[in-house]
């Protein structure tokens, strides 16, 4: 496992910040292993996106724009990734720990007979062996795990764990050949947008999250969204809010929902039940706004403001907006 391959998640050429984090870390890791840093971009507009990846210190960007990739669920993607990985040789494959990335990792590890290291936030390299550092069990332990008995290691990387750093440049772009003799079964008949997702919750640098204390769906739009926008972040929710139907489950943070580790997490009207805690306790700074200063969330926050969220949040939004201009 000498080389490193970053798998690029994108939609029609629009990618996420984590792509550049992976590209940067692919280089750093490849240097420590004495190998090459590769990226693979698949699907519509992959070529254009590959050009933009040239700003990052990669050796080769592999591209395929085969329409099958967007017409069928996952299978063509895995075929191309397998072909790229086999051509490159024993390697560490980095994918983002997102819905897409977990799907890719899950399939690819079996396809490549590889080990899987999940939700990784750092790497250690000793004698050419990669060890993956990951917070586990809802953040109560930090594990270091290594691969064995395999030529490939697949790693899902937690967004926001590495800093994207352009530079280096000069990557060559190579086209991947269409895998021969394949036919696909999972047909994507149509695609429906229900919410805008300029920024995935998992990779937002700031998350403003609401819970039962918000009392209904409207405050997520009228109270939290403006603050999240001002801070350049995204809105999340506790399980109680998702279960109440105030927000879609895709916003739910915690057990059975998403795990996030933004620089800043603002919990509004969230009591801090363990169901929620396991999804956010690794955030850099945690601020809680709660009527009750003794709510469980106080035990793992950095700042607790005891007061009325409906009065505090709009004022805070104004302060942040004013500070920006």
């Amino acid at each position: 496992m000498q080389n490193v391959i970053a798998v690029v998640e994108h939609r029609k050429g629009q990618t996420r910040k984590v792509t550049y984090e992976l590209a940067t870390e692919a280089r750093a890791l490849a240097d420590r292993l004495g190998g090459k840093a590769h990226a693979v971009v698949l699907g519509g507009e992959a070529g254009a996106l590959a050009e933009s990846l040239k700003a990052y210190p990669l050796d080769v960007v592999h591209v395929a724009e085969d329409p099958d990739i967007d017409a069928y669920l996952l299978d063509p993607t895995i075929d191309y990734l397998e072909a790229a990985a086999r051509a490159i040789g024993p390697s560490i494959v980095l994918v983002p720990n997102t819905m897409y990335g977990r799907d890719v990792a899950s399939r690819l590890c079996a396809r490549l007979d590889a080990g899987l290291a999940a939700d990784v936030t750092g790497f250690e390299v000793e004698n050419g062996r990669v060890a993956c550092v990951a917070p586990k069990l809802g953040g109560v332990t930090i594990t270091t795990c290594a691969f064995r008995n395999c030529e490939y290691g697949v790693v899902t990387v937690r967004p926001n764990s590495f800093t994207a750093q352009p530079g280096g440049g000069g990557a060559s772009v190579e086209m991947l050949a269409k895998p021969a003799g394949k036919s696909y079964a999972m047909k994507i008949e149509s695609e429906v947008e229900e919410a805008s997702s300029e920024l995935g919750l998992e990779e937002a640098p700031v998350v403003v999250s609401g819970g039962r204390g918000l009392g209904g769906p409207e405050p997520f739009e009228t109270l939290l969204k403006p603050l999240a926008d001002a801070l350049g972040g995204a809105v999340g929710a506790s399980r109680a809010a998702a279960d109440a139907g105030w927000v879609p489950y895709s916003l739910q943070i915690g057990q059975t929902g998403k795990t996030v580790s933004p620089k800043l997490y603002i919990a509004v009207g969230i009591s801090g039940a363990i169901q929620h805690k396991v999804g956010m306790r690794s955030a850099g700074t945690i601020v809680a706004v709660n009527k009750d200063a003794t709510a469980p969330i106080a035990e793992f926050s950095d700042l607790v403001v005891a007061g009325d969220a409906f009065a505090i949040i709009p004022e805070l939004t104004k302060l942040v907006e004013t500070a920006k201009v």
Binding site: A117, E191, D308
Partner: protein, 258 residues
């Protein structure tokens, strides 16, 4: 039609979870074990399909777990599953995703199925790696993150959740599907269900029963440590909005977050 639901047995969320320093495995004894919460949604999806498909459809649970935990499956039987299979073998303890998925795939071949339904994520290991890897081992379509499922003439029609909405996806049976929580709240077991569950079968399979022996995991836990401790929270009582907002703003300034 035979539906198999994969169910992991995990420590209760409130249990004090820790890794044994000698075996480097999660301690699973001396605490309450529950059905992995996500897998209750998988079972709910299976029971909804069974209700629509009619009586010749059966729902079988499959869990790879120590035999001592198998009675935990009784709750899922009470919810309405027809029977259960536990894959138990000391040689399977310490399995990682690669080994777990290969073993479950092998067991599924033995049991037989038209449709496999998995949860999205297990509460303890939380890799989300098992479902897709099982599909890959069996050469099955692996339709992940379904929130709505219908079967029409041997074809699955699913709404599959994405970050921004959903995709309508079709695929032929046999297939593997993983679900999201939007399939619907898992049902409660009725009193009749609870009584009936006592008579349902929980069969046990070993590694040799399914021809799965002498395998080793592909990952190895080298070490583990507690995370750096957070200092105790600063607490501010805010009598009005402006005071509270100012306290947060100043704090964010201090930490260079605005």
């Amino acid at each position: 039609m035979r539906i198999v639901v994969t169910v992991k047995l995990v420590p209760d969320l409130n249990a004090e979870k820790r890794i044994d320093p000698t075996t480097k495995r999660l301690v699973r004894t001396g605490m309450e074990t529950v059905l992995n919460p996500y897998d209750e949604y998988a079972l709910e999806a299976a029971l909804q399909l069974k209700a629509k498909q009619g009586d010749d459809t059966t729902v079988t649970l499959l869990s790879m777990a120590s035999e001592s935990l198998k009675e935990t499956l009784r709750k899922a039987l009470a919810m309405g599953a027809d029977d259960a299979v536990v894959l138990s073998d000391d040689a399977l303890a310490g399995s990682d995703v690669a080994m777990t998925s290969a073993a479950l795939a092998q067991a599924l071949k033995k049991i037989g199925f038209d449709l496999v339904i998995c949860g999205g994520l297990a509460d303890d290991g939380s890799t989300g790696g098992v479902p897709g890897a099982i599909a890959e081992h069996l050469g099955l379509p692996g339709l992940t993150n379904a929130r709505h499922l219908e079967i029409v003439g041997g074809t699955i029609k699913a709404q599959r959740e994405t970050d921004s909405g959903y995709q309508a996806v079709t695929c032929p049976l046999p297939a593997l599907v993983s679900v999201t929580m939007a399939v619907g709240e898992p049902r409660y077991a009725s009193l009749k269900g609870i009584m009936g569950a006592k008579k349902k079968t929980i069969a046990t399979l070993s590694g040799s029963d399914i021809g799965f022996e002498n395998r080793a995991p592909k990952t190895e836990l080298l070490s583990f440590a507690p995370p750096p401790a957070r200092t105790k929270a600063r607490i501010v009582e805010a009598s009005d909005g402006a005071t509270g907002a100012r306290a947060i703003f100043d704090f964010l300034r201090e930490r260079k977050l605005v």
